[in-house]
C-alpha cells in the first residue's frame, strides 16, 4: 500500500479559543490516528531517521510496535533511548532532525513520517495506561555521582547513571526540577504536569533531587569533589542578555527570562490566586526572532494583550524560531516587523515605558554565522507605541557556580570547555554538558550530552578509560 502524502493531522485547539487560555495547543493523536500515521513508515532498512536523532532512538522499532498496536512495547523501546519522551515529542525540532532525513519526506510532494507526534503519542499512552512502571533492578556500583542542575541535561545524565547502578544526587537551585522545561517553555506548549511526570520517573530510578540547593553557595565545589566519585555540570545558559539600549531599566521592560519565569514557574497567569504578579500590557513589543521570542509573544497574548508585535532585525527567512511555532504565532494574531531594530525605549514621567524607537534595516553581506548582516537604513527611525517590552535576544552562561570552580577552563563566551567525545572538562572527575557547554541550544541536544556524558562517566568510574590520562 502506498503511504498517503501528508502527515496525519494532529487535533489542535482553535486559535480564537486558545489565545484565551494556557492549555496545551496541540492535543495529541488518538490510537487510530497513531496507527494510521505509523503505517506511513516504510520500515526502510537504511532508516536514516535514526542518524538524525541526537540520542539515536530506534525509530522504525518503536513505530513498528505502534502499527502492531503493541503500545506498551513501543514505549519500552522508546524509553531505552530517551528518558523524557513526552517532553521531546512536544518540543524537539523534528523538522531539522529525524523527520528531515526520513525517506518518506524525500518522495516528491510527500511529508515525512510524523515521528515527533508518534513519540508523544506513545509516551502519553504509557502514562495513561501503564500504572506500575517497572524499573529493571540494577546491581549497585557503590559509587556516587553528583549532578548539578536539573534541566534536561542533568536529568538525563542522572537517569542513565542510576540505571547503571550509580548512586546519584541532583542539586537544583530553584524550588522545582526541570530547568528551562519548568521556568521557560510555557504551559501551552509543554504542560508542567508532564514535566512532573517525567521527573517522577527519574526519581523512581532512585535518583535523589535536592531542591533549593545552589551549588557553589550552599554546597562548595570542594565538598562535591571530596564526596563524589564524579560530577556532571548541567547548569544551563540562564543569564539573560540585554541590548543595553537607553531605557532598559524603565518599568515595563522585561527580559524574556523574567517574564516567562513569572508566568511559568511562578504561575503569574493565575495571579492573584498565586502570589507572583506580572504586568499585563495592552501593546506589547517583543524583541527577537527565536523560540523564546515566540513563547514570550504568545504568553503575553494569553495574558490579555490587545496587540503583540515581534520586531526582528533580519527577515522571516533568517529567523531561528521553529517554523511550527512561528506559524502558530501568526495564526494567533501576532504581528511581525522584519528588518527592525530597537534603538531606545521611551518612558513617561513616572518611569514607565510608553514606546520603542526603532530603525529599519536592510540585509548586507553574510556575516560569520553565514546569515546576511542587517545594516541600519539612515533616516528610517520610527516609534512603536508600547506599554510593555520583552527582550528575547539570547542568554549567557549561568555565572555563580563556574566562578567557584578553580581549574575549569571556559571559552571566550564563558561556556565550559569539554572534550567533544567524552564531555570531560579540564578538571579531573568533572564532566559537563547541555547549554553550559554549547550555549543556548535544544532540549534534545542537552539530553544527548547528558546521555553521552553518563556513558563516559561509567567508563571512567569502572576504570575502563581515563579521559585525563
Amino acid at each position: 500500500m502506498k503511504p498517503t502524502l501528508k502527515k496525519t493531522p494532529m487535533p489542535e485547539q482553535e486559535p480564537q479559543h486558545r489565545v484565551k487560555n494556557f492549555f496545551e495547543v496541540a492535543l495529541g493523536y488518538s490510537e487510530e490516528q497513531a496507527v494510521t500515521e505509523a503505517k506511513r513508515c516504510l520500515q526502510c532498512p537504511a532508516h536514516p531517521c535514526v542518524s538524525g536523532c541526537p540520542v539515536g532512538i530506534d525509530i522504525p522499532g518503536f513505530i513498528k510496535k505502534i502499527k502492531e498496536r503493541d503500545f506498551k512495547e513501543s514505549a519500552r523501546i522508546l524509553k531505552k533511548y530517551n528518558n523524557l519522551p513526552a517532553i521531546c515529542g512536544r518540543v524537539c525540532p523534528q523538522e531539522v532532525q529525524c523527520e528531515e532525513r526520513c525517506v518518506v519526506g524525500k518522495i516528491p510532494g510527500s511529508e515525512p513520517v510524523a515521528i515527533g507526534r508518534l513519540e508523544r503519542f506513545v509516551a502519553d499512552w504509557e502514562a495513561d495506561n501503564v500504572k506500575e512502571r517497572t524499573v529493571d533492578p540494577t546491581v549497585p556500583k557503590g559509587k556516587k555521582v553528583a549532578v548539578v542542575g536539573s534541566g534536561p541535561a542533568g536529568l538525563t545524565a542522572a537517569a542513565d547513571l542510576a540505571k547503571m547502578g550509580y548512586s546519584v544526587d541532583v542539586f537544583e537551585t530553584l524550588h522545582k526540577p526541570g530547568g528551562v522545561l519548568v521556568y521557560g517553555i510555557p504551559e501551552f506548549r509543554l504542560p508542567k504536569s508532564i514535566v512532573e511526570r517525567e521527573v517522577k520517573y527519574v526519581e523512581s530510578l532512585s535518583v535523589k533531587i535536592h531542591l533549593n540547593t545552589p551549588v557553589g553557595k550552599s554546597i562548595s565545589v570542594d565538598e562535591l569533589l571530596k564526596d563524589y566519585d564524579a560530577i556532571f555540570i548541567g547548569v544551563g545558559a540562564g543569564t539573560p542578555k540585554f541590548m543595553k539600549i537607553p531605557g532598559t531599566n524603565l518599568n515595563g521592560v522585561y527580559s524574556a527570562n523574567e517574564f516567562l519565569t513569572r508566568v511559568n514557574l511562578m504561575k503569574a497567569y493565575l495571579f492573584p490566586e498565586y502570589d507572583t504578579p506580572v504586568k499585563k500590557g495592552n501593546n506589547i513589543v517583543v524583541v527577537g526572532g527565536g523560540n523564546v521570542a515566540m513563547d514570550a509573544a504568545r504568553s503575553a497574548l494569553r495574558l490579555g494583550a490587545k496587540s503583540v508585535v515581534v520586531v526582528y532585525r533580519r527577515t522571516e527567512q533568517e529567523m531561528p524560531a521553529r517554523r511550527e511555532e512561528y506559524l502558530h504565532a501568526v495564526e494567533e494574531g501576532i504581528r511581525f516587523r522584519w528588518l527592525t531594530q530597537p534603538l531606545r525605549y521611551i518612558g513617561d514621567e513616572k518611569g514607565k515605558v510608553i514606546g520603542v524607537e526603532c530603525i529599519s534595516m536592510e540585509l548586507g553581506e553574510p556575516d560569520e554565522s553565514g546569515r546576511r548582516r542587517p545594516i541600519p537604513i539612515e533616516d528610517s527611525r520610527f516609534v512603536i507605541e508600547a506599554d510593555m517590552v520583552i527582550e528575547a535576544i539570547g542568554t549567557d552562561a549561568n555565572r555563580f557556580l563556574l566562578s567557584q570552580f578553580k581549574g575549569l577552563s571556559l571559552n571566550k563566551y564563558g561556556y565550559i570547555v569539554v572534550d567533544s567525545e567524552t564531555y570531560a572538562t579540564t578538571l579531573r572527575k568533572v564532566f559537563a554538558g547541555g547549554d553550559i557547554v554549547t550555549g543556548a541550544a535544544t532540549v534534545i541536544e542537552a539530553m544527548g550530552a547528558g546521555k553521552k556524558a553518563a556513558f563516559w562517566i561509567d567508563r571512567f568510574l569502572s576504570g575502563e578509560y581515563d579521559p585525563w590520562r
Partner: protein, 279 residues
C-alpha cells in the same frame, strides 16, 4: 526538620524575629548574604537577609509590608516554610579598617547586625547610628549596645535619642572621629541620602540594595540596577555596592513597579484574614 520555624518573637509592630532550621545555610552563610523564601506552594519568592547563624539554624527578621511578609509574620513556631534557598549574594568585604561607621534604619538594622559583628571580630571600632520612625521601631538595640564603641539613635519624632534622621548622626560621628569606611542599610530612600552625605564627606560607603527579585541566582534580571553607569544584577553582583555610584532614583522607580498588583494582593488577603493592625 528543614525550614521549620524554631523560634519566633516580636521586635516591633509588624516586625518579627525568626529562627529557621536549615543546616546547609547555617554552615555556609557569611555576613551580607541573603536567602530567598517561599511561604507556601502558591507563594512568591522573596529575598530576606540572614541576620545571624546558629548551629543548625539561621535568623531572619521580617517586616510586614505586603502579602508575603504579612503571611510570614503570621506563621508560628513549628510551622514550616515551603522553600528556603541560600545563602545567596556576595558576602560583605570585611577586614580591619580602623574606625567604621554603621548606619541602620528599619529592618535594615537586622541586615547590619551580622556585618557589625564580623567587623568587630576583625578589631574595628564601630560607630553605630540607628534610626527609626519612633522609639519602638529601633530594633535590636541591646545587641548593638554590646558591640558598638559609639552608638547614636535618631527618631523622626524624637521619642528616643536625637530627633532627626540618620544623616544628622553621620555628621555627629564625622565631627569627632576619622572614619575609614561606612555601611548603610535600610529603606532605599535612607540609603540614598546616606550615600549623598558620604559623597559630600568623601567617605567610602557600602549599601545593601533591595530591588525586587525573582530567582536570586542571576537568571531573570528583575533585580537589575545601574551602578557607575553599568547594568548590574543585585543578586549575583551584589547585594552590596558603592552607594555613591548607585542610580538611586531609577531603583526607587523600579521598586514601585508592581504597586497596583501589590495592593490588590494585600486587599484580597486582608479580606480573608481580617484586620492586621494587631500584628
Amino acid at each position: 526538620m528543614k525550614n521549620r520555624i524554631i523560634k519566633k518573637s516580636r521586635l516591633a509592630p509588624q516586625v518579627y524575629d525568626f529562627v529557621i532550621e536549615n543546616e546547609q545555610i547555617a554552615a555556609k552563610a557569611r555576613p551580607g548574604q541573603f536567602i530567598v523564601a517561599r511561604a507556601h506552594e502558591k507563594g512568591e519568592r522573596i529575598p530576606l537577609t540572614i541576620a545571624d547563624l546558629y548551629k543548625d539554624s539561621f535568623r531572619m527578621v521580617v517586616r510586614g509590608v505586603g502579602k508575603t511578609t504579612y503571611e510570614l509574620c503570621m506563621m508560628n513556631e513549628n510551622d514550616v516554610l515551603s522553600d528556603v534557598t541560600g545563602p545567596l549574594g556576595n558576602p560583605s568585604e570585611i577586614a580591619y579598617f580602623g574606625n567604621v561607621m554603621l548606619v541602620g534604619g528599619g529592618v535594615g538594622i537586622a541586615t547590619l547586625l551580622p556585618i557589625a559583628k564580623e567587623l568587630k571580630k576583625h578589631g574595628n571600632k564601630l560607630h553605630v547610628i540607628l534610626g527609626g520612625r519612633s522609639k519602638e521601631y529601633v530594633i535590636m538595640l541591646d545587641e548593638f549596645e554590646k558591640i558598638a564603641d559609639e552608638l547614636i539613635i535618631t527618631t523622626d519624632d524624637g521619642s528616643f535619642g536625637i530627633k532627626g534622621v540618620v544623616t544628622d548622626g553621620m555628621d555627629l560621628v564625622m565631627n569627632k572621629s576619622k572614619i575609614e569606611v561606612a555601611w548603610a542599610v535600610g529603606p532605599t530612600i535612607m540609603m540614598k541620602f546616606c550615600s549623598l552625605k558620604a559623597k559630600e564627606l568623601g567617605l567610602k560607603i557600602w549599601v545593601s540594595l533591595n530591588p525586587i527579585m525573582v530567582d536570586g541566582t542571576g537568571m531573570c534580571g528583575a533585580c537589575r540596577v545601574t551602578v557607575d553607569g553599568q547594568l548590574k544584577f543585585a543578586c549575583v553582583d551584589g547585594p552590596e555596592f558603592d552607594g555613591t555610584k548607585v542610580d538611586w532614583d531609577e531603583l526607587l522607580v523600579r521598586l514601585s513597579q508592581y504597586r497596583d498588583e501589590e495592593e490588590l494582593s494585600l486587599r484580597k488577603f486582608k479580606e480573608s484574614v481580617g484586620d492586621l493592625s494587631w500584628l
